[in-house]
């Protein structure tokens, strides 16, 4: 038998978008230290269901840290105290007797659907505004027909590791989505396939981001501290530069 923990959970419960919501205290006894945070919630939910209560709604999918579906703000930190996704956070990061506050990502642009699940389709609309390379007709190009310098490929890959989980928005004191937008813009701007459309892309994506009701970056750097993929706020520096250049060219053209 592995070691177990007795915890007290303060879980956000909210019936739906219109409900005001409240914290509910749940006793979590006998939680194995080897359980992931989501497995801990599974155990809690099984017990709630056995007792005829409403289980806690939370988002999850791959449970291997690559899909960006899991969320949660744990003790005020998106994805909890470790710089990883909630599914890769294990209960060994907590101590026996701990009180754990579990909340949804809080942002006007991410309305709560139920309990800990939030609607993150605002991110999809930012991508739809320009987070792609326009389709060209014809056969698929040969591999390596377009040489990409190693440094640029590495940069693009660093930005492309963004899984769109929204932890940056949750961590930002202003609920700004700039790290997300900057990673997507920077990823495509780093590659010869994406670069030609950078000006159009950065203006369209930033305008959509603003229209969705996200806040404005005030350079707290909380986003990069929370990002499970360790994406640097240097991408925001670059997005600011690209945006101002694109807006200037648009204005004087």
């Amino acid at each position: 038998m592995s070691e177990t923990l007795n915890l007290i959970l303060k879980v956000w419960r909210q019936q739906g978008p219109a409900d005001v919501g409240r914290f509910e205290e749940i006793d979590a006894k006998g939680i194995p230290v080897d359980a992931s945070f989501l497995e801990m919630l599974d155990i809690i939910n099984e017990r709630l269901i056995e007792n005829g209560a409403d289980p806690v709604a939370f988002d999850h999918d791959c449970r291997e840290g690559i899909c960006g579906t899991c969320s949660l703000v744990i003790n005020g930190m998106p994805h909890g105290p470790k710089q990883t996704t909630t599914c890769q956070l294990h209960m060994r990061s907590f101590r026996d007797g701990d009180v754990i506050w579990i909340e949804p990502f809080r942002a006007n642009a991410f309305p709560v659907i139920k309990d800990l699940t939030v609607d993150r389709t605002a991110f999809d609309r930012i991508i739809a505004a320009g987070g792609y390379v326009s389709v060209r007709t014809g056969a698929a190009p040969d591999a390596n027909s377009m040489p990409v310098p190693k440094e640029q490929a590495d940069d693009a890959f660093d930005a492309a590791t963004c899984i769109g989980c929204g932890a940056c928005v949750a961590a930002c004191p202003n609920a700004s989505a700039m790290l997300f937008a900057a990673a997507k813009i920077g990823h495509l701007d780093s590659l010869p396939q994406g670069k030609p459309e950078t000006r159009r892309r950065v203006l369209a994506m930033v305008r959509t981001m603003d229209a969705e009701g996200f806040g404005n970056c005030t350079n707290h750097y909380e986003c990069e501290a929370a990002c499970p993929k360790e994406i640097s706020a240097d991408w925001i520096t670059r997005m600011n530069r690209l945006h101002n250049k694109a807006a200037t060219i648009e204005a004087v053209r």
């Binding site: 303060k10 914290f23 703000v73 003790n75 005020g76 930190m77 998106p78 506050w101 909340e103 809080r106 942002a107 006007n108 642009a109 961590a171 004191p173 202003n174 609920a175 700004s176 700039m178 930033v206 305008r207 981001m209 603003d210 009701g213 996200f214 806040g215 404005n216 970056c217 005030t218 350079n219 707290h220 750097y221 909380e222 990069e224 501290a225 929370a226 640097s232 706020a233 240097d234 925001i236 520096t237 670059r238 997005m239 600011n240 530069r241 690209l242 945006h243 101002n244 807006a247 648009e250 204005a251 004087v252």
Partner: protein, 233 residues
Amino acid sequence: MMTQLSRFYASSIGKKAVVAVTGAGLLAFVFAHMTGNLLIYLGPDAINAYGRFLHELGHGTAIWFARLGLLAMFGLHIVATVQLTRQNRAARPRGYALDGCQRTTSAARFMIVSGLTVLAFVIYHLMHFTLGVGNDYRTAEEYFTMLDGERVHNIHQMVVDGFSVWPVSVFYILAMFLLCWHLMHGFSSVFQTLGAQTHGTRRIVRYAGYGFAAVILIGNTSIPLAVLFGLVS
């Protein structure tokens, strides 16, 4: 052109750029103002001559260009930051039960508070020395002196008398702490917002900002302290 300008200002990054550019101008002003102030240590003639120089530059037009420019920079800086702050608060209507912030600083979190307090100080400062509200620094004969056979405003006497009132000096010193707290975050934010820093220079820019704030703090607070301790009289 006007459409594009308003579109630029309407965007988050556009407003931030306005804050950064005006902030950079105000940083330059704060530094120039401090170096001018420090002339007080060279005796009455130095600072009085400097005052005359500023008032006579461009046959007296330069000071008005500077004043209008500063007013515009202050105005844009304040309007844009207040709008951004309101949007930021609307973007997170409900905060978290626990504060899990890991990297930000108190300076960054209280920019609007320090900024608006500094605004209140600037208004007081202008009434105190520039307009001479509630005092006779601008009218009484003792605040004029002869310099190279010319009747000039005796700035040195005004500063000494102004800071000899200790509550006034304490208020000025507190205001400088708030200003420098504001600059600690403001300096590096100019570079980040304008995209003028890189991964390699981010840390250097941050510490340069702390250094800049420290220089302003020491330079400006030294003057009321020097007057209070009788080093300048």
